[in-house]
Each structure stands twice: as C-alpha cells, then as structure tokens.
C-alpha cells in the first residue's frame, strides 16, 4: 500500500520536472535546459534536505508539530554566517572563498546545534510545550542578534550576505550545488541506513532504551544530521520557516505507514513535488508576481495553527 502511493508520488514528481523544464520554452530546448537544469537540481536537493531534516527532528523529539526551522536551526545558521562576516570583515570573508567558508560554517553549525539543542532536549525530556516555547525564543534570539549585527556592518558587506537572509527560490546560490548535493546525499544516506533504528527511536526514550538502543547518543547523531541538512538548505535558499511542517504533515496523511523506510522517501517526494510544481507555476504561469517562499509560509503558517488548534500535536 505505501509502495503504490510512493510510485504515484514519483510519477507526479517526474511530471512536475518535465513541466518545469519544458513549459514555455521557445526555440532551442537544449539552451533552456542549461539554465533550468541546475535550478531544478537545486530545488530538489533543497526539498530533500528540508524533508529529511524535519522528519528526523520530529522522530527524535516525538512530536509532529516542531520542525528544525520553527526551533530556530535556520536562524542559527544565518547568525553564524553574519557573525563570520562581522568578525572577518567583507574582505576577509570574500578572500576565504565560498566553499571554505561554507564548510567552516557547517562545522560551527553542527557543533552549536548539538550543544544547544542536545542540552535542551535532555532538559525538557518530551515536555513539548516547554520545547515549543524555548524553540520560539531561540529563533527570536538568533534573529535579533543577527538583526543587531546587520545594522552594525557596512551596507556593502551586507549585500554579500543578503541572499542567505531571505528565502528566495529565484536567486539560489548555484555555486554551492556540487558540494551541497554531496553533503545532502551523504546525510540522507546515513539517515536511510538508520531507518529501522529510527522507527524504534520514535517510541521514546524509555521504550527505545528497553529495546536496546543507546538512545542519548543516537539523538545527538540524528541532531548532527539535522543540523547539517538545515544548514545546507538555508545556504541554498535561505530560511523558510513552515515548509518542513507542510511536507511532513502531508506525508503522514498520504503515506499510511509509521516506518521510516516509507516515510523518508515519501516526505522527500512530496517536498520536491511542492517545490518544483510550485516554482513552475509561479515562475512560468504567474511570471514571478509572487515568490514561492511567501506562499509556502502562508500555507504552512495556517497548517501550524490548525495543528495546534486541533490539539493533535503528538
């Protein structure tokens, strides 16, 4: 049953991709593909990264409403980038080179997430309401510090960073595609290899320890993967708060399974369909009158409210 649904999703994704690549392309199709191909790849790896990081985060926290973005992972990455720019200055920042800087920010991000959110999770131990609160406060804190630093730096230097501060699918950081694809691929492969363990981990600390998992260590490993994925997707398009939430909620509705071997591909496919189809429609049909991230955050914000009001957050 989940297998057939996954096939249907796969077919839908293939359709969306063809639509994205060919719709409205006049003249030489090869020429259009050269432009649209890399963007399509970027959309899909971003979708996959957000999908997997959100699902993994929900698995280790044992809830279906918190996502790394809501908990402030994306804003933390933005803060790290701004702090780097602030402390190195625009020149130093540029000299460092894109991939060195990127790798450096990633390492910082993973360390910071494990330290911060690892401790937080040990403290709140499945006290969901406290986690939501702390997460939202973290998000505001990171954004405010970033805001302060942004006001203190040279406007020219600020321009270097601008693409990372706002979600934008029209101006993705395409230089990073190679490295990003590799990192996301490795992270998703690691998650896939853990799929059976993740099913058990989702049962909570008590039961998973009883079943012989080294729960606390595994949670840190998973948080590391989540941090990596969140950082890469933020670097590619910027922070989109509610995208992960939409995708995992849809996946839980569409893929009738509790197993990660079904849910991981399901969330990835749904995320890619939403991004590719959404971007094609906005870009080609509405000619960029609106940006996808705004639509996503609007729909996602409403989903978030509905989930909270219906009270089925577990």
């Amino acid at each position: 049953m989940p297998g057939r649904r996954l096939l249907i999703l796969f077919a839908l994704l293939a359709l969306s991709c063809v639509f994205y690549l060919t719709y409205g392309a006049r003249g030489d199709i090869g020429f259009a593909l050269q432009f649209r191909g890399p963007k399509l790849v970027a959309l899909m790896i971003t979708g996959a990264a957000i999908a997997v990081s959100t699902k993994l985060f929900q698995t280790v926290t044992g809830n279906r409403i918190l996502t790394p973005a809501i908990m402030g992972f994306d804003s933390l990455y933005v803060l790290i980038e701004i702090t780097l720019l602030f402390s190195l200055g625009g020149f130093g920042y540029a000299v460092l080179g894109e991939s060195t800087r990127f790798s450096f920010s990633l390492v910082l991000m993973i360390a910071a997430c494990i330290a911060l959110f690892g401790t937080l999770m040990r403290q709140t131990q499945r006290d969901l309401h406290r986690m939501i609160l702390v997460g939202i406060i973290f998000g505001i804190l990171f954004r405010s510090i970033s805001g302060l630093l942004v006001r203190m730096i040279d406007p020219n230097e600020y321009a270097v960073l601008q693409s990372n501060l706002f979600a934008n699918f029209n101006q993705m950081d395409l230089d990073l595609i190679g490295l990003s694809s590799l990192l996301i691929g490795v992270a998703i492969f690691a998650a896939w290899r853990m799929r059976n363990t993740l099913d058990t981990l989702e049962l909570g600390r008590e039961i998973s320890i009883n079943l012989g998992l080294d729960h606390d260590r595994l949670v840190l490993v998973v948080l590391g993967i989540v941090a990596l994925l969140a950082a890469v997707s933020t670097a590619l398009v910027g922070p989109i708060i509610f995208f992960g939430l939409i995708v995992t909620s849809l996946a839980h509705q569409i893929v009738p399974s509790f197993r990660h071997r079904d849910l991981l591909p399901g969330t990835i496919l749904i995320a890619c369909i939403v991004l590719v189809a959404g971007q094609s429609i906005l870009e080609r049909v509405f000619h960029l009158d609106t940006t996808l991230s705004v639509v996503i955050d609007l729909v996602g914000g409403l989903t978030f409210l509905v989930l909270i009001l219906r009270g089925n957050i577990r």
Binding site: N63, R64, N196, L203, G204, E206, I209, N210, G212
Partner: protein, 250 residues
C-alpha cells in the same frame, strides 16, 4: 539472579535511594512493595538503564546493567514503565512487533511473527491487532504494551505498576500470566500497590521504605501483620480466607 548492591541515587540534595541491597532470585515472581516515595520506581528506572546510580551496581546474571552493552541487556531484561507517550501512529501488532527489535534489529523474520502471535494471544489482544493505539482504551493500551514486553522474550521482566488501568479480570489475568511465565523459567518482577495481589501471586517480596531496603525475602516471611504494619506505618491485619492470606487495611 539480580543483585542490587549498595545503590545510592540522589536528585539534587534529596537522597532518593541509599544503601539499597537486595538479591532477587531467578525463577520466582517478585513483588516490590512499599509506601509512596519509597523509591520503588526509581529502583526500576535504575535497573532499566534510564538513569545511572551515584554509587553501587545492579547485576543481572552477573552483568552490570550500566556497563554491559545496552543491546545485549535488551535480550536479557525487559522493562515496562508507567508512562509511555508514543508519537508514531501504530497499530497494536506493529507495537508488539517492536518487542522483537533486540533480536532482529528491525528485519522481521518468520519466527518473529510466532512470538508476536503468542504475546498477542496471551494478552487477549488478537481481536484488536489491527487497531491503532489511539483507538484503544487505557486498559487495552496497557495490555498492548505488556504484549510488546512479552514478545521481547527476555528472562527477566520488570513491570512498573502493570495493574494500573486494568479492570479486575484483566488484572487477575495478567498476574496469572506472570505466574505462568515463572513456571516456564522466566523471572517477572513488578512494582505493585495492591499487597493482596502480591500475597497471592508473588513468591518473593522486596519491601522498600524511605529509600532503603526494609525487607527482602520469601512472601511467607514478609506477608505478616508485624512487618507490613511497620512498612506502611499503619495497622494491617492478616486474615485467612478460603485458605488464602488476606491483608485487611481499611
């Protein structure tokens, strides 16, 4: 045999357990009894590796539970705690099949489904095996969780107040299942408040009071008026009714 050696555990400045020493024999049903706040559940949490003791050790068949590999311990000792929040939307059968995880690491084998069927039948959960957990009553849910522990098929089975939420028929059935498990060589250990259930089904009693061992021995030694009255600091008289010892405490 479970050896509890000189266990000490504190939260902040309050000492929860101090100098707890006891040997729980293999092949018997052991009841852990004691007033509220005696440290019964804490002792179970320690034995189940959820928390680490500040001093002392707990050994199961010679393996220190906090030193041995947790994956190996899961094939020797299973634990059901009082509260379990499960985020996944699971059917009863899926939950019970997780009991096989320590043995198959999530790769289901044919022999696993036999164990799962057996556990479901024992807890009379076969008719509900395709229900989702959130469609069950509290008692059915409790029985599903016990079935998961049974399918784990370990020599030692620790249960923290397993009779909670169970009506009297299912409570009695569960106790009879524990007795049956004892007869096939397993060692069930349970924290229990109803001392009359303890008297009828447990062959061994570990009594805790104020975070330390109060008494540890065969039920016949401990289920007497004097030790029980001292344990609970209130008068408890023991009567014989239909050849069965009954504690009158109200």
């Amino acid at each position: 045999m479970i050896e509890i050696q000189n266990i000490r555990y504190a939260i902040g400045n309050s000492l929860i357990l101090d100098q707890v020493d006891a040997v729980i024999p293999k092949g018997e049903v052991t009841a852990i009894i004691g007033p509220n706040g005696a440290g019964k559940s804490t002792l179970l949490s320690l034995a189940s590796r959820l928390i680490k003791p500040d001093a002392g050790a707990i050994r199961v068949d010679g393996h220190d539970v906090h030193q041995a590999s947790t994956a190996e311990m899961a094939t020797l000792l299973s634990v059901l705690r009082q509260e379990n929040h499960i985020a996944s939307r699971l059917r009863v059968r899926d939950l019970v099949s997780f009991g096989r995880f320590p043995h198959n690491r999530g790769q289901a084998r044919p022999e696993d489904s036999e164990k799962i069927d057996e556990a479901l039948d024992m807890m009379e959960m076969r008719p509900f095996e395709n229900r989702y957990l959130d469609e069950l009553s509290g008692g059915q849910r409790q029985r599903a969780l016990v079935a998961m522990i049974l399918s784990q098929d370990t020599d030692y089975i620790l249960l923290d107040e397993p009779l909670n939420n169970l009506d009297l028929v299912h409570a009695r059935n569960l106790m009879m299942i524990l007795e049956r498990l004892k007869n096939v060589g397993k060692t069930p250990i349970l924290v229990i408040h109803d001392i009359n259930y303890a008297a009828k089904y447990a062959t061994h009693i570990l009594a805790l009071k104020n975070g330390t061992t109060f008494a540890n021995g065969p039920t016949s030694e401990i289920f007497r008026s004097e030790p029980l009255s001292n344990l609970f600091d209130s008068h408890i008289s023991i009567q014989t009714l239909d050849g069965q010892l009954i504690a009158l405490h109200h």
